[in-house]
């Protein structure tokens, strides 16, 4: 949970998408090899405005509106990275990421090892993540588990503007491919203090959102905010002291932080948005029980999406866990 700060800098309040934008701007300003490619990222500044202003500032060669072809985006980003650039590729929505799985599974994490270290793929693949903004079908997905099971890549998801900027800068300078999810619910709703200069938040380190002694909630992405609400309710209604860990990097996992916290409290809830079966929460639940078995005071509670497709938005609040569901799960653990 350390951070490296380049120089003293003004601190402003930004929302998460502004923080992303600022990180991209700083990275492009500092390194000519950094370029952006994707659909509508140029003149339009991205459908969430994450790349707003960058096309004007850095030109059509470095902020590239591509044809509507995700294999093309991902494949050419891989080629660009292998050939010395630092591409930041955007997939417009989580729901369209399956079309790049072929490139991700067969190549993204394999090129370094297939070439025995001669080639590397220092790229960032950005995509909005998750639900609850009343978006159309296929625009509210949480596909992280597919990526976490794939060797050779890293998977990151911030939940605060500060982390979004620092993690994205770290991801861009990372020598290996990073899949960078941005919780779209938080793009505008999450605001916070962000220093204006360059800084990084290290990959692979979780964030301790709040300390507690009775129960640990392990979570990531927009669900972090939901869990904070649940923790307040649990404090108020149950007098429970809840510790919350925001993973920030899903893989490589900050297992030390997870084991330390869950070992301390002995009661665990894992909360996330994806279909629960076979999710990243399953890996966490497995790891915690395998390594902290004798410290567990209650069965681990996983709270995730149901194992059905994400419904259209009228029902999304019943699909994605809300604070009540987290509270119910926490009470099961607390009262065991």
């Amino acid at each position: 949970m350390s951070k490296t700060m380049a120089k003293p800098a003004a601190v402003r309040t930004l929302n998460l998408v502004q923080a992303v934008n600022e990180a991209l701007d700083l990275a492009m300003g500092a390194d000519e090899r950094v370029m952006i490619l994707g659909e509508d990222v140029g003149r339009n500044g991205g459908v969430f405005r994450a790349t707003d202003g960058l096309w004007k500032k850095y030109g059509d060669d470095r902020v590239v509106d591509t044809p509507l072809a995700e294999i093309g985006i991902m494949g050419s980003a891989i080629g660009l990275a292998v050939n010395g650039m630092r591409p930041v590729a955007e997939i417009q929505f989580d729901g369209f990421m399956p079309s790049v799985f072929d490139q991700v599974v067969c190549h993204l994490g394999r090129i370094r090892s297939r070439s025995r270290g001669q080639l590397s793929v220092p790229l960032v693949l950005r995509a909005p993540h998750g639900g609850l903004i009343h978006a159309p079908e296929h625009h509210s997905e949480s596909p992280e588990a597919y990526f976490c099971h794939t060797p050779g890549i890293k998977v990151v998801i911030p939940s605060t503007p500060y982390d979004a900027k620092g993690l994205l800068l770290a991801a861009i300078e990372d020598p290996d491919p990073v899949v960078f999810f941005e919780p779209k619910l938080l793009y505008r709703s999450a605001t916070g203090e962000v220093p204006s200069g360059r800084y990084t938040v290290p990959l692979g380190k979780a964030r301790l959102v709040q300390e507690g002694t009775d129960l640990t909630i392990v979570t990531w992405g927009a669900m972090t905010v939901t869990c904070q609400k649940a923790a307040e309710k649990l404090k108020a209604e149950d007098g429970a002291s809840v510790e919350i860990l925001d993973l920030r990097t899903l893989t490589p996992l900050d297992l030390d932080a997870v084991l330390a916290s869950t070992g301390k409290t002995g009661r665990v809830v894992i909360a996330h948005e994806a279909p629960n079966t076979g999710s990243w929460a399953a890996e966490l639940s497995a790891l915690i029980a395998e390594r902290n078995l004798l410290r567990l005071l209650a069965p681990i509670q996983r709270v995730g999406g149901w194992d059905v497709r994400m419904p259209l938005f009228r029902l999304e609040q019943y699909y994605i866990p809300d604070a009540d569901r987290v509270v119910m799960a926490a009470r099961k653990a607390l009262r065991f």
């Binding site: 159309p136 059905v308 009228r314 119910m328």
Partner: protein, 375 residues
């Protein structure tokens, strides 16, 4: 042995009805007056519907909605060549296609209001839901057409994709299969000039999209997509080829997205207003109207009556949509499998628990009835 030419191709473009209402009589297809009037009605009504839907969205009564205006000829005319039992799969912008297929537009509103019950097609229609990940339906429609070939009754499948979507590899594999197995399928590229903020010229660097067909042994044709008569003629020939087992066709219908990409988009950020102005002169509805007027099939009185009827119809659809009771959250678990496995049974009970936690034990009685098949 020389540098020799081994194949030549001509890409043709079909235009029949010019913006000023004059026609190329030689090319004019046989269309009954009734059918001409039906085309006009569909186009007129779907435009009015589109405008109202946008208003609903602006008033917070609808979710994100993709505009149709400008593309009425390309959307409303092809379905007129189809049987109910032919397959028809539009894009997410294809409200006009569904309308021409006879869909009640209350369902389109429900869908864009985030209600899963919006995928409701007329009984007996072979419609399939569009795919939101664009282009991913293209190979599926090849499969639908393949199924028709097995049935051997002359059934066909028609589907659409945008100019942007034509860059997806899915089109390549779909056309490869269509050409290879001579499938009774028609691919309509609805080239409306834009893919969100990306103009047509930033997709394929080829002069036309129609010429892609040639790479697959598929027949290709460019059509003035704002010319209802050209669309009709091109489509009727494509459908009749398909029915006779003569193979697939790719039609590039050149039209224009007159509005924003969706209600969530602001086209002024990236698009020159002059371009929009120029396309106004090529409006498909005004053009057909001129033609009908010249043929004495249409006049101001009829127009007024149609407008009045349209308002009533739209009001009715909006009412039906807005009076639809909220969906029961438990519906999510219906129709995922023919028979829900244990984990969905368990999860549905968990959701019941949650609902009770929120609303008390009586809540399950107060919810609207569940729909769909479970377990």
């Amino acid at each position: 042995m020389p540098l020799k030419t081994v194949a030549t191709l001509e890409v043709q473009r079909l235009e029949i009805l010019s913006p000023d209402g004059t026609v190329d009589e030689k090319l004019l297809p046989k269309v009954s007056n009734d059918l001409l009037l039906e085309m006009y009605r569909l186009m007129f009504q779907i435009r009015a519907f589109d405008e109202r839907a946008i208003m609903l969205q602006r008033q917070g009564r609808l979710g994100t909605y993709p505009m149709i205006t400008g593309q009425e000829a390309t959307q409303c005319v092809p379905p007129l060549l189809l049987r109910k039992t032919d397959w028809c799969v539009p894009t997410y912008r294809g409200g006009g296609v569904y309308f021409a297929r006879g869909m009640q537009m209350r369902y389109a509103l429900l869908y864009w209001a985030g209600d899963d019950r919006g995928t409701h097609f007329p009984d007996g229609n072979k419609d399939m839901m569009f795919s939101i990940p664009v282009g991913t339906h293209l190979t599926q429609v090849a499969g639908l057409a393949w199924g028709e070939k097995f049935k051997g009754k002359g059934g066909v499948a028609v589907t659409y994709c945008g100019d942007g979507t034509s860059s997806k590899g899915d089109l390549h594999e779909a056309l490869t299969f269509a050409g290879q197995f001579k499938l009774p399928v028609i691919y309509v590229i609805e080239n409306n000039g834009w893919a969100i903020s990306v103009p047509r010229r930033r997709q394929a660097a080829s002069q036309t999209l129609a010429q892609k067909a040639w790479g697959y042994g598929v027949k290709g044709l460019q059509v003035d997509g704002n010319d209802a008569l050209a669309v009709y003629k091109a489509m009727s020939e494509a459908v009749s080829r398909a029915r006779k087992g003569e193979g697939p066709t790719l039609l590039e219908c050149e039209t224009y997205r007159m509005s924003h990409h969706t209600t969530a988009d602001d086209a002024t950020r990236y698009r020159d207003a002059k371009e929009v102005e120029a396309w106004k002169k090529r409006d498909p509805i005004a053009r057909l109207k001129l033609f009908l007027e010249k043929r004495k099939l249409w006049d101001a009185k009829k127009e007024k009556a149609l407008a009045a009827e349209t308002v009533k119809w739209i009001d009715g659809e909006i009412r039906a949509y807005e009076e639809t009771p909220a969906p029961n959250p438990l519906n999510m678990f219906a129709d995922n499998y023919d028979r829900a496995p244990w984990h969905l049974v368990e999860q549905r009970m968990e959701l019941e628990e949650l609902l009770k936690f929120k609303g008390g034990a009586k809540i399950l009685m107060e919810l609207p009835p569940t729909e769909g098949r479970f377990p």
